[in-house]
Amino acid sequence: MEIALVLGVPLAGGLILALVGHLRWAPEVNAAMSLVTLGASALLTGRVIADGPMLALDEQFFVDPFNVFLVALTAFVAFTTALFSRPYMRIEEHHGRVNAGRLRLYHSMYQLFTFTMLLCLLSNNVGILWVAMEGATLTTVLLVSLYRTPASLEAAWKYFILCGVGIAQALFGTILLYFAAEKVLGPGGSSLLWTHLYEVRHELEPTVLSLAFVFLLVGYGTKVGLVPLHNWLPDAHAEGPTPISAVLSGLLLNVALYAVVRSKVLVDGALERNFSGNLMMGFGLLSVVVAAFFLSRQKDIKRMFAYSSIEHMGIMTFAFGMGGTVAAFAGLLHMTVHSLTKSAIFYTVGHAAQATGTQEMASIRGLIQQSPAIGWGLALGTLAILGMPPFGVFTSEFMVLTTAMHEHPWATPFLLIALGVAFAAIFSKVQPMVFGETEARRLPHPPALIPVFVHLAIVLLLGLYIPPYLVDWYRQAAALIG
C-alpha cells in the first residue's frame, strides 16, 4: 500500500504537471508532490522498521533495509531540490532562459524522474530495474538540453548516446543473468526476481555470472560515472539547469551504484573468489585518482563539482568492492552524506551563477559580500565535501581509509594522494570565489537557502553523532550486501 503511494504520487505528479506545469503556481505543485512522496516514503520506512522486509504485488516489489534507506534519501533530496528549484527556475524565467513550455516540460520530467528512480529502487525484478534505469536517462535527457544552447544540446546528445550504449551493455548482462537463473529456477517471470535469485545465488553458473557481472558493471557503471566511462557526466552537470545537476549527482549516481551492488551480491554468491569486488575496487580507485587530477584543470564551477562527484562515487565503489560489513557501512554512510552535501553545494552554486551571470570560476568573486548565506553555504559545503571534520564525509572517508589500510594496504597511498590533490584543487578555487569584493547583482527572487543549511546540518550531525536507529539500519543493510 505504501509502495503504491510512493510510486503513484510522483507518477501522478508527472502527469498533472504535464498539463499545468507552465502555470504560475506549478513550482509549488511540484514541491507539494515531492513533499507527499516524502511523506509516503516516511510511512514506508516506518513500516519496514517495524515489520521487517516486505514483498508486494505478486513479489514484483520488495523493500529491505538496503533499498528503503535509499528510498528515504531519494525522496528527501527530491523534495529539497524541488524547494530549491522553485526560486531558481523563476529567476531563470526572469532572465529569459526558459519559457512557459519548457517549464512545463521541466516540472513534468522532474516528477517522472523521481518516479523512475524510486521504481529502480523498489522493483524486485532486475529486468524492470533496467527499464527504470533507462527511463531515468530518458526523462533527464531533455532537461539537460533545456536551455537549447549549442553546448547544452551537445551535452545532452553525449549523455543520451553514452548512457544508452552503456545501459545496453547492462541489458546484455541482465539477459545473461536470466539465462543462468532459468537453469535453476525454470523459465517464467520469477527467474528475474531478485529475492528468488538471492536464494539460489550459490547454485548459479559461475562462468555465466562472471561474464554477466562484467557487462552489468560496465553498463550501470557508465551511469555511476566510473572512469573511463565518465565522459557524459561533467557535460551533463555543467550544461543543464542546476536543480538537475543536483539530482543527477545526489540521486541518479547513487541509484546506479545501487544496481551495481545488487548485482555484486548475486555474483559473490556464485563465485568463490572475490572477482566482482576486485573489479569494483579497480574501477573505483581509477575514478578517484583520475577525477582528483582533473579537478585542478576545471574552469567551470559546475564541471568542477561534477568531477568531485566522480571522485566520491569512486570512493563508494571502492568501499563496496572491498566488501565486509565495515566497508559496506562506510559506503552507505558515504552515499548519504555525499548526496546531501553535493546537492547542497549545487544549490548554492546555482544561485551564485545566477547572481554573477557566469559559471566561470575566474569571474565569480566575493560571494559572501553579495549574499552571506550563499557564500557561507558554498564555503561550508566545500569544507564538508573535502572531508573536513566534523562533517559526516570525514567519518565515512576515515572508515574507508582505515579499512583499506587493514585489508588492502596497497590502495591507501592512491586514496590519500587523490584526496590531498582534490583538497588542494577545490579549496584553492573556492576560497577566492567566496571572499573578496564583488560586482554581483541582486537576485530578482529571494533564493531558497534553507535546504542548503538543512542538508549541511544533517551532514554535520552524522559526523558528530549517528543516531542508534540509523546505525542499526546501516548495519542491517551492510550485513545484507557486505
Binding site: E134, L138, F160, F172, I175, P187
Partner: protein
C-alpha cells in the same frame, strides 16, 4: 518438438542478421540504412516467430508481433518522416575507410564468438548457436555508432544494437519475461521519440545533423 528444419531456419535468419549488420556498417546513404534496419527487424521478428512456433512458448508470439509493429513498421516510418521533414534525404556520408572498418568488424565477430562459446555450450535451447551472432550484432552496431558522424546513422546504430540484444534474449533464453519485454519496448519507443525531438533541436542550432559540430565540450 524442435525440428532440425526450424533450427536451420533460425540459423539462416541469424546469418542474415549478421550480414545486414555488416551491410549497415558499409552503407553511405541514410535512406538505404533505414531500409536495412527494417529488414533487420523483419528477420528478428521472423526468427522469434519460428522459435515461438517450434517450442510452443506463447509469449514469444507476442514479442514477435511487438517487434514487427515497432521495429519493422513504426520506427522506420517515423525515421522516414523525420528525414523528409528535416530535408536531409540526400545526406550522403563520406565514410572514411570502409575496408578498415570492415576489418575491425571481422575482429569483433571473432571476439564475440570466442566470448559466447562457453556460454552457448551450457544453453539447452535449440537456438544456442546464434548467441555468438547476437553478440556480434551488438558489437558491430556499437562500432557503427563510433564511426558515424551524423546523428541519424548513430541512432540507427543504437536501435540495431537493441535488435542484437533482443536476439540474444530469444536465442539464449527464449525471451525475457513479458513484463520486462514490454518495458524495454516502451523505453525504445520513448527513446525514438526523444531522438526525433533532438534532431529538430540540433538542426535548429547547428543547421546540420553533423555531430562534428558538437565536439566543443572538451577538457582544455
Amino acid at each position: 518438438m524442435a525440428t532440425p528444419f526450424s533450427t536451420q531456419l533460425v540459423n539462416l535468419l541469424a546469418a542474415f542478421l549478421l550480414l545486414l549488420a555488416f551491410a549497415m556498417l558499409a552503407q553511405r546513404r541514410v535512406l538505404t540504412l533505414i531500409k536495412m534496419f527494417a529488414w533487420q527487424g523483419a528477420a528478428l521478428a521472423a526468427s522469434t516467430l519460428i522459435v515461438a512456433w517450434s517450442t510452443g512458448q506463447h509469449h514469444l508470439y507476442f514479442s514477435a508481433a511487438l517487434t514487427l509493429a515497432l521495429k519493422v513498421i513504426f520506427i522506420p516510418w517515423a525515421l522516414h518522416r523525420l528525414i523528409d521533414r528535416l530535408n536531409v534525404r540526400w545526406d550522403i556520408e563520406t565514410l572514411i575507410n570502409i575496408p578498415a572498418t570492415m576489418l575491425i568488424g571481422i575482429g569483433l565477430v571473432i571476439f564475440a564468438f570466442a566470448l559466447a562459446t562457453p556460454i552457448a555450450q551450457m544453453a539447452s535451447t535449440l537456438t544456442r548457436s546464434t548467441l555468438g551472432i547476437a553478440l556480434a550484432v551488438v558489437l558491430l552496431s556499437f562500432l557503427m555508432m563510433i564511426v558515424r558522424r551524423k546523428a541519424v546513422p548513430q541512432v540507427i546504430g543504437f536501435l540495431s544494437m537493441e535488435n542484437g540484444l533482443f536476439f540474444a534474449a530469444t536465442s539464449a533464453t527464449y525471451g525475457m519475461p513479458l513484463v520486462v519485454e514490454l518495458g524495454i519496448a516502451l523505453d525504445v519507443l520513448v527513446g525514438t521519440f526523444i531522438f526525433g525531438i533532438f534532431f529538430f533541436h540540433i538542426r535548429e542550432q547547428f543547421d546540420s545533423l553533423d555531430i562534428r559540430h558538437m565536439e566543443k565540450l572538451k577538457e582544455d
